[in-house]
Amino acid sequence: MENKRRIYTKLFISTFYLSAFTFGGGYVIIPLMKKKFVDDLQWLQEDEMLNLTAIAQSSPGPVAVNAALLLGYRIAGISGALVTILGTVLPPLITLSVISLFYSAFRDNIVVNAVLKGMQAGVAAVIADVVLSLGGNVLKQKDGVSVFIMAGAFVATFFLKINVVYIILVCGCIGATKLLFQMKKKQK
């Protein structure tokens, strides 16, 4: 019981803290979640984190909330999911409630704008750091199909601006076909 309460507290504090500092939505919070839950707390494996991210990304609604829900559920069941949703939703709810009271002053404030501009570079560096680790692991497996998927998905989303939902559908199908193909080969 005592142990469970510790897990809930840790889940709540971690998601609240990550959500409070996540400027720029889903893609920024996922690298941060990976660092916290996979690298620091070691509550799940990197592969599983990517699986959960894929589910969060292909479901409707805010990616950050979806990912938090999945993480909470994976670590502590339904009540864990409720705790992480609350932790993720509260910071923007509080921040926006306060800001909506004096929003024009906030929007035009030069200090706020300068700090946010400075933060952009830091956010880009945090994402680059995680991409280097994750991408490096994909390359290390020396699996041609995975590398092809990674390169193709990047071109599709960054240059061709194709809807993420289609990219996920196609890449999922390629993965399934590849594995079934390998199994047939083994049977022969």
């Binding site: 939505g25 660092k35 945090v126 680059a128 199908c173």
Partner: protein
């Protein structure tokens, strides 16, 4: 009654915005500006600017902002709950399927295809933010004058610190905001 309308509007926004953030903007505009006239178009543009400047998903930020304006704090809470309600149900269902069937070969195959995809999507988002930080709204250009060298320096330093000492990313982002902000205010 107004609370129910808020709930239902944001329920639809949450239901149909797949792929997060940017996908939600036209839906929010449709519900909040066109159908219900809760915000004028100028207020809506302000809302998007503020939502991007503050932490948190854009859907939740706008739910809170619109809810407070229309019906105070209860409005904010009701709109936020409406926004996350559909995804909570669908994601829970998918999670259940995933944890039940994840050992299946087909599911394993699909997931092995999705993992490199997610890495690519994160890389693309990171590159977009990097370009915004270095070249601003104008986008990529080879002209050296359009490059924001403060951003480049902050980026390189932050990345070095992250790779070398594995510092907590939240401190790196805050530090980059404070140091960068101070430099921008001085020049």
């Amino acid at each position: 009654m107004i609370l129910l309308e808020l709930f239902w509007s944001f329920f639809q926004i949450g239901m149909f915005s797949i792929g997060g953030g940017m996908a939600a903007i036209p839906l929010i505009q449709n519900q909040v500006v066109n159908i219900h006239q809760w915000l004028t178009l100028t207020e809506f543009t302000d809302l998007i600017t503020i939502a991007e400047m503050t932490p948190g998903p854009i859907g939740i930020n706008s739910a809170t902002f619109v809810g407070i304006k229309i019906a105070g704090l209860p409005g904010a809470i009701v709109a936020t709950v409406g926004c996350i309600f559909p995804s909570c149900i669908i994601v829970s269902l998918l999670a259940w399927i995933y944890f039940k069937f994840k050992e299946l070969t087909v599911v394993q195959g699909v997931l092995s295809g999705l993992r490199p995809t997610i890495v690519a999507l994160i890389a693309s988002a990171g590159l977009t933010i990097f370009m915004l930080a270095v070249w601003g709204e104008g986008g990529f250009s080879i002209n050296a004058q359009s490059i924001n060298f403060v951003s480049v320096l902050l980026f390189a330093t932050a990345l070095f610190i992250l790779r070398k000492w594995k510092l907590n990313p939240v401190y790196v982002m805050l530090g980059s905001g404070i140091i960068g902000g101070a430099i921008y205010l001085m020049i």
